[in-house]
């Protein structure tokens, strides 16, 4: 106790603990950003369990998990970026770009595919850095910057592929050196019990775990919340705002590289027009998962739950033998409901604390 400090308000020892009792376990749970999405996921799961007979089979579960993982891998860094207060509209086509670079570099240079994979990593990260630097230098909204990158990449994907391959898809690299080992890393599948597990599910789990750890237990995580929740305050207390934002865009680029390599090594060839529109799906998964669109609030686990809801809905409609045309309607309704639920939960949690 410093003698110079003003006298503390009188209080009996233990009074603080008494007040803390009001913050019950339930209240703490309500304060978690992913709560709304978990409630939503349970609801969607029960719904399709009732309306689609084959939904609860083990093979269906593996299909749903696979669909979720391909979205989930990207939803994790997109969620982190959104917590950091920015968007990346180029994320969807960047996945395709990454796959195209890897495939075409290996094919044209007749190099080991691992060389292409590595070159692709460098170029993809460079695009991430470009987004981040443009954003922090120009101070324009990320919506505009990444919309520009999105359009440029879409054009480059088609243009370069046609220029080099003569068609809109790349040549197969299945018989090239290193293909099998690269496939083992990015597109492997194995049977566990009677469920087929694709390796993307492991990538997804690993990314969610790492992202959660980074967000909650590292300095960088603290900075992500800070730059999204109050960039000026963060800068004033010495947080490297520019570096944090560029780092977040590089995170998106890294995940796009993983997704792109998966795309390439599961199908041997890449269609250059793919990926357009996926960026919105990643954003939707992050928002359903409880990320605040204005930044500063959210979680990586939430994005995983959001991606899982997405996977269940897209495959559940198939198992229920409905016309898949209905899918987008469900997705839109889900997005609205989840956002409303999140807003309501957060308001209650903060008001009554």
């Amino acid at each position: 106790m410093s003698a110079s400090a003003p006298p503390a308000p009188t209080q009996e020892p233990g009074a603080a603990d008494e007040r803390l009792l009001h913050t019950s376990a339930l209240r703490r749970l309500m304060g978690r950003p992913e709560l709304g999405s978990v409630v939503g996921a349970v609801a969607v799961f029960l719904f399709f369990s009732l309306v689609a007979d084959s939904f609860l089979q083990a093979s269906s579960l593996s299909t749903v998990l696979y669909a979720s993982s391909t979205i989930g891998i990207m939803a994790v860094p997109v969620a982190l970026l959104m917590i950091g207060g920015e968007f990346d509209l180029s994320a969807g086509v960047l996945v395709t770009s990454s796959a195209l670079i890897s495939s075409m570099f290996s094919y044209q240079m007749t190099a080991n595919v691992w060389v292409g994979v590595f070159v692709s990593l460098l170029v993809t990260l460079a695009v991430g850095v470009f987004n981040g630097v443009m954003l922090t230098r120009t101070k324009l909204p990320s919506f505009i910057i990444t919309l520009g990158t999105f359009l440029m990449l879409t054009g480059l994907n088609l243009g370069f592929t046609k220029l080099i391959s003569g068609t809109v898809s790349t040549k197969s690299i299945a018989d090239m050196e290193g293909f099998e080992s690269a496939k083992a890393l990015f597109a492997h599948e194995f049977v566990l019990g009677d469920v087929t597990i694709k390796v993307t599910i492991l990538w997804w789990i690993a990314l969610v775990a790492i992202a959660t750890w980074v967000l909650l237990r590292t300095r960088f995580g603290n900075w992500i919340y800070a730059v999204g929740g109050g960039a000026h305050a963060a800068r004033a207390v010495g947080v490297p705002v520019t570096r944090t934002k560029i780092g977040l865009y590089m995170g998106v680029a890294f995940a796009a590289w993983v997704s792109g390599q998966h795309l390439l090594f599961s199908f041997d060839v890449v269609q250059s027009g793919e990926g357009v529109g996926n960026e919105l799906i990643y954003i939707i998964a992050a928002v359903i998962g409880g990320c605040l669109i204005t930044g500063g609030y959210g979680s990586a686990i939430g994005s995983a739950v959001g991606a899982f809801i997405f996977g269940m809905t897209s495959k559940g409609i198939v198992y229920a033998e409905w016309d898949p045309d209905w899918f987008k309607f469900f997705l839109g309704a889900m997005l609205l409901l989840a956002t409303l639920l999140n807003a309501w939960v957060r308001k209650r949690a903060e008001a009554t604390r």
Binding site: P6, L20, R217, G230, R235, A236, V237, G238, G296
Partner: protein
Amino acid sequence: MTQVSLVELENVSKFYGNIRALEGVSLAVHAGEITCVLGDNGAGKSTLIKIIAGLHQHDSGSFLIDGEETRLASPREALDRGIATVYQDLAVVPLMPVWRNFFLGSEPTLGKGPFKRLDVQKMRETTRSELLRMGIDLRDVDQPIGTLSGGERQCVAIARAVHFGAKALVLDEPTAALGVKQSGVVLKYVAAARDAGLGVVLITHNPHHAFLVGDRFVLLKRGVMAASHTKESVTLDELTRQMAGGSELDDLRHELERAPTPPIPKNPGRAD
């Protein structure tokens, strides 16, 4: 004065293009003293803070820290040199818990390399004990700092600066948006920081608040220094008079008295 000032400005000027934001301002901050900078809106107070805090650089004059001529490149450098600034509106990140805010930008870590992680236990406990030491008793350091009152947030920001060993504390209008009671609480912590041996720069447009705690007073008017006093050399009335415009105020009063009263139209439709 033989004692070296913590922070000293001599004849400092700042121009934004052809606009004079600040010209020829001098002030000194000593350990265990409060220097008040008074001025109306647009007097150049914000510019002055930004120079001291490292957000902007001065164009001419000299800026000395511990008697050494300096030009700060960033807020980070200012912090490293022992100057902490608490802004009125952007002191904290509202959605983040109190303990994360307290250590923001200077987080303690455990472990090495990729396993370097926040020392969460220490962060929570230190936040709690440091706030208690300043007389702020929080029931939960996990609550978002946005749920605290404006005065409490200012106090957390001040406690943070004191904890991180700031030698000089710059406070931007800490009482501007607060009620009478809250202002009193904040001024108490300002005094506590002074007693802890910090040199404080208190920016305000309230001469009453300034006179309660200040040791020196610098008056800014339209970017230039209008007056500089020590506590002994000035009274509250004189300070208030100069702050309010001094002789300009007399002119204004004169004008208002003599202003021809516009004919008030009678409105028979309204009883009141």
